[in-house]
Symmetry: C2
């Protein structure tokens, strides 16, 4: 049961001029489900991407990085190819060959070169791609191409997700109305740099390639790199930002321009909604937890403390139990490797309830207040370090029996 | 159900000359259980200690460090005082006062000064010590003092442990036979520097103070700092090494002497047995996992990789399910923050089964071999990095439904 999350309404997902999506049931892992997606890009479309930092990154991540670099050098991208069911990670040289062959097969159908296709995979690790089924599924994707298939696309990339994740917004820049629409998948193996997740966000805004990369870095840091479910960084994480440039507007080339800030913020809002949807739909989650660390010396130390809390199995099980065993949060703050931290200056709040100060339980704290907040489905943990002005905000969930069940049974 | 662990046999726990232990039922948290321990030290006894690195360390840790430093400066220690049921952590200035008052109360009964007592606590965080009950329990501890109470002492320091943990060995140094006997507690919130654990190891060997500290550092690194259950570093961890010097032998003052190596190795063997017992008795554990990372450039990188595997909830749930979903181990190796790792050179073994090489699944690997090993209660994961000569060995357990249940219900 996802936490306060419902399926997106297909009618509220706005098409993005220049972008078409085609979906097929290729039978990659299971029959009768959407598992293959082609995102076709109009000529002139720019793409920026960030990928997992995992050294065991999947074959498609290696090839997508390579093709993205070539696109910058004059081989414009024409399509993205995404499959679910098999991650094509931990597959060595053979996996790379499979990925290249799948790009080649789609390129033939589209009349472009292999390097103009970006490949993505998600699913089980250390198994080979079922190449025949993928190649056989591509014509159905092409036949299905349409501008209003965002919800189908969101369904086609799901693995253990219980709900598709998609969001859309329109922004009036004065010169033109632009659209930002995005989809994402992910439910477990979630940790930044990146989460186990795929996300594709498209806009029709006209924006220079360097500013598109800047907007992506900005949005990724505040969204997918600010969530965690279990601290496991996947082999396949990829977030792609696509700009078709079809809106009637002058190209944005100035990072200080109002239009850039408006577009970047719209992209960040969509990315944040998608990232939070991943946490809400996290494996076994029953609570959505916001962790806000304030008044730190640096954002880095705020994030260290936030992630120590977010990753602690003891804190997470206490949230699951709605048990205000809040000393566990103090313990996590204490081991976050911020070596000169003076714990006597820290304040800990649970929503509006002051729990701890002066190195221990606040005298005014009452257990029933903690209990009341712990029973909510959405909780904010606020840690005030009182040693600077930096802030970090992260989102995570609790650790439940269902997390164990889902991950003990995933392959069966 | 602990993994291949049974209660120690009281008759095999050898007394250590100069050390007496007294236990009481003080009703600190629950009635009718042993929860207060005094370890009395004969004059001339040396003590070395290592403590949690948690910044939110407990009041007794702060005071024990202080008294230990004074002991080196000529205030010889006379006793250790340990309570279970309440950690006296996250209790601020009041917690420090409580700890000092408990040392003072015991000092009065023993006719020594407050600074000659080392205090220790374990249990729930952010609650005050029940001082009246502790002080009322001390005379019963004194009345109970005896050299052969090691098993009772092991029971008196348990929290969520299902079995007491104690071990003993005798070593013939040629000049004398010396004894090493130790106890430990811990089951969850286990992560090095230190584990949530208390351990007291005593020997009658005559050994200089600097060499005692050296033996302690050596043993701690290879035992309690090489285990993890959940990555949560406690506020109270303490490991104390006590040497009464009662054996008839010349004092060991040379780090190169055979006698030093023999004593140090005996202490390390006892510490390792106790540390492994903590993992075997870990909350919800059904498997005992040895992680050995070999042929690395440095021990540090081997430990990073080992801990990434040991902390991954996905790897741990796969062990719980006996599911050879071994790509999760590759993923954990990949995100261990060893940034120049060439994954194509790595070999992954599960016991004797070669699972992966060349960046992916080994062609000779058969799923049924992986399945066979995964069903064992003791499993060795061996990662060969093929880039140096360093090695690290760690011990951990799986993540089960019972871990979630135990930690969701701990306070209720």
């Amino acid at each position: 049961m996802p936490v306060n999350l419902t399926a997106p309404d297909a009618r509220r997902l706005l098409p993005v001029a220049g972008i078409r999506l085609g979906i097929a049931q290729a039978g990659i892992r299971k029959a009768g489900r959407k598992d293959l997606l082609v995102i076709e890009l109009a000529p002139g479309t720019q793409v920026a991407g960030v990928f997992t930092q995992n050294r065991f990154c999947a074959a498609p991540v290696i090839v997508a990085r390579e093709h993205l670099a070539r696109a910058g050098a004059g081989a414009p991208l024409r399509a993205l190819l995404v499959n679910t069911g098999c991650a094509n990670a931990g597959t060595g040289a053979a996996g790379l060959e499979d990925t290249r062959a799948s790009c080649m097969a789609l390129a033939k159908l589209l009349g472009c070169s292999e390097t103009q296709v970006l490949p993505f995979s998600t699913g089980v690790i250390m198994e080979r791609l079922p190449m025949e089924r993928i190649i056989a599924g591509l014509p159905a994707c092409i036949a299905d191409l349409g501008a209003d298939h965002w919800l189908d696309a969101a369904q086609a990339i799901m693995t253990t997700d219980t709900l598709p994740k998609a969001a859309s917004v329109q922004v009036d820049l004065g010169t033109a109305k632009i659209t930002v629409t995005g989809i994402a998948k992910g439910a477990g193996m979630i940790h930044p740099d990146m989460a186990t997740m795929l996300s594709y966000i498209a806009t029709d805004a006209r924006i220079s390639a360097p500013l598109l990369r800047e907007a992506l870095a900005y949005a990724a840091h505040r969204s997918f790199n600010s969530i965690t479910v279990d601290g496991d960084t996947s082999t396949n994480d990829s977030m792609m930002l696509i700009a078709s440039g079809k809106a009637s507007m002058p190209e944005i080339t100035d990072a200080g321009a109002q239009a850039f800030i408006a577009v970047r913020d719209a992209i960040t809002a969509i990315a944040t909604e998608l990232a939070q949807a991943i946490v809400r739909d996290a494996e076994g989650a029953t609570k959505f937890i916001t962790i806000r660390v304030e008044a730190g010396r640096s954002e880095d130390e705020c994030r260290k403390i936030g992630y120590a809390i977010a990753h602690s199995p003891l804190v997470k099980t206490a949230f699951f139990a709605s048990d205000p065993n809040l000393g566990r949060i103090l313990a996590a703050i204490g081991y976050a490797q911020v070596h000169d931290l003076d714990v006597n200056r820290i304040e800990l709040y649970l929503d509006d309830v002051l729990v701890a100060r002066g190195g221990g339980r606040a005298p005014e704290y009452r257990e029933e207040d903690g209990k009341r907040v712990m029973q909510q489905s959405e909780i904010t943990v606020r840690v005030v370090l009182n040693r600077g002005t930096a802030v970090a905000e992260l989102w995570t969930c609790d650790l439940s029996h269902d997390y164990v069940s889902i991950n003990a049974d995933y392959r069966t």
